[in-house]
């Protein structure tokens, strides 16, 4: 599966199946700081990601206050 990340913008490839929670671990991400969008649809932490999926890991933290 192709995983698209931002800040900096890049694409990584992982082999599926893999849970969203495991993807967080692989990328060393905190779940509070990102959303995972699979093929355009928001998915929860227990969703299984498969080969062929297009995954966006979208950061949600902004710096303005």
């Amino acid at each position: 599966m192709i995983v698209r990340l931002r800040n900096p913008s890049r694409e990584l490839t992982f082999r599926g199946p893999m849970s969203v929670a495991k993807l967080f671990n692989q990328l060393d991400l905190q779940r509070e700081t990102v959303l995972v969008i699979r093929n355009g649809t928001l998915v929860p932490g227990d969703a299984m990601l498969a080969d062929g999926d297009e995954i966006e890991v979208r950061p949600v933290i902004s710096g303005g206050a």
């Binding site: 905190q30 779940r31 700081t33 990102v34 929860p44 979208r58 949600v60 933290i61 902004s62 206050a65």
Partner: protein, 329 residues
């Protein structure tokens, strides 16, 4: 994973609420949280005229969308900060949002109105970019709200924002700031009432709201904010949240419930603040901080225009006050 409400497949899990939601019930959850915040803190009275400060980011567009969904008649305010391509892109998101929904937007462009932009202003004033930006936005927001006759200025500050500010003020024991940290700042000294209806919702929840509500927003971070102290405080709090879901909400809401009252005596603003001799905005000295920044940045206040009072929303505060003095003579 199933929706806690309807048992349909969930799209998001909220550990701090021990709940999962499908799309429809998550959108309802967010609107209910805003309704509760407005009621709990008496943010909005019936008939209030609302102005929502919008940046093109998730939080401000989400709260504008939610307020409209809840039946409020809210106008938007966009300030063009002149931060290169970032400002151009964020402004385009706002305009698409407005056009798609037929909403009313007030626009202020810093360069056109005051002759400077944030990068120039920050360099000239030797201030951190976020400091110059915050100071400028507060001045422009206040002015637009007062001049436009709005009762309430709405901002998109969420739970993470408020918890991070509280954390920063606490580790420095800035008691005067702690005294003023609240979801509602009442109108006083010429400032409009300021409210933060997203205090019950996290950044992740607001981003999810936008995805599920079909709100297209600027995802990339402001290039001038990278690595700022506020982001560092958010990272620390999110580490705590990972260990103990609900930690951010406990920190913030327990402060409001049990801590804030102990700092009231440190709020030295007794309502006797004066006005800036240059722009007419409320100021503790002769010249307000914004006008000092403006001077260093080589900008200027807008020239007074011979216009009728009905067009007051387009004027600077000093101009409006001068016209009002003329009217009452």
């Amino acid at each position: 994973m199933k929706c806690t409400v309807c048992r349909e497949p969930a799209v998001i899990d909220l550990r701090r609420h021990n709940s999962n939601f499908c799309s429809d019930h998550f959108l309802k959850f967010c609107r209910d949280q805003v309704t509760r915040a407005i009621a709990d803190y008496e943010m909005i009275q019936q008939g209030d005229k609302l102005l929502v400060a919008v940046s093109g980011g998730k939080d401000s567009l989400a709260i504008w969308d939610i307020l409209n969904a809840l039946g409020y008649d809210a106008h938007g305010l966009y300030v063009g900060l002149g931060i290169g391509d970032y400002s151009d892109t964020s402004g385009a998101y706002v305009k698409r949002f407005v056009e798609a929904r037929g909403l009313h937007l007030v626009e202020v462009d810093l360069q056109d109105t005051y002759g400077f932009d944030i990068p120039t202003g920050a360099r000239a004033a030797k201030r951190a970019p976020c400091s110059a930006c915050g100071l400028t936005k507060r001045h422009v927001f206040d002015g637009a709200a007062v001049d436009g006759g709005y009762d309430v200025l709405v901002t998109g500050h969420n739970l993470d924002d408020e918890a991070a500010v509280l954390f920063g003020n606490t580790i420095k024991w800035q008691t005067e700031y702690l005294a003023r940290q609240a979801p509602v700042l009442p109108a006083r000294n010429g400032f409009p009432r300021k409210v933060k209806p997203l205090v019950r919702l996290s950044e992740r929840e607001m981003a999810a709201y936008c995805v599920l509500a079909g709100i297209d927003y600027i995802v990339d971070e402001c290039p001038m904010a990278a690595g700022n102290r506020h982001l560092g405080h958010k990272a620390i709090l999110n580490q705590m949240e990972a260990q103990s879901p609900g930690a951010k909400a406990d920190f913030y809401f327990n402060f409001l419930r049990s801590g804030a009252e102990h700092f009231r005596a440190d709020d030295h603003d007794d309502g006797s603040i004066g006005t800036c001799e240059r722009c007419g905005a409320p100021a503790s000295g002769e010249v307000c901080a914004f006008c000092r920044l403006l001077e260093r940045a080589g900008g200027s206040l807008p020239e007074p225009q011979p216009v009728e009072l009905t067009a007051r929303r387009d004027l600077g505060r000093g101009v409006v006050r001068e016209l009002e003095r003329e009217t009452h003579r």
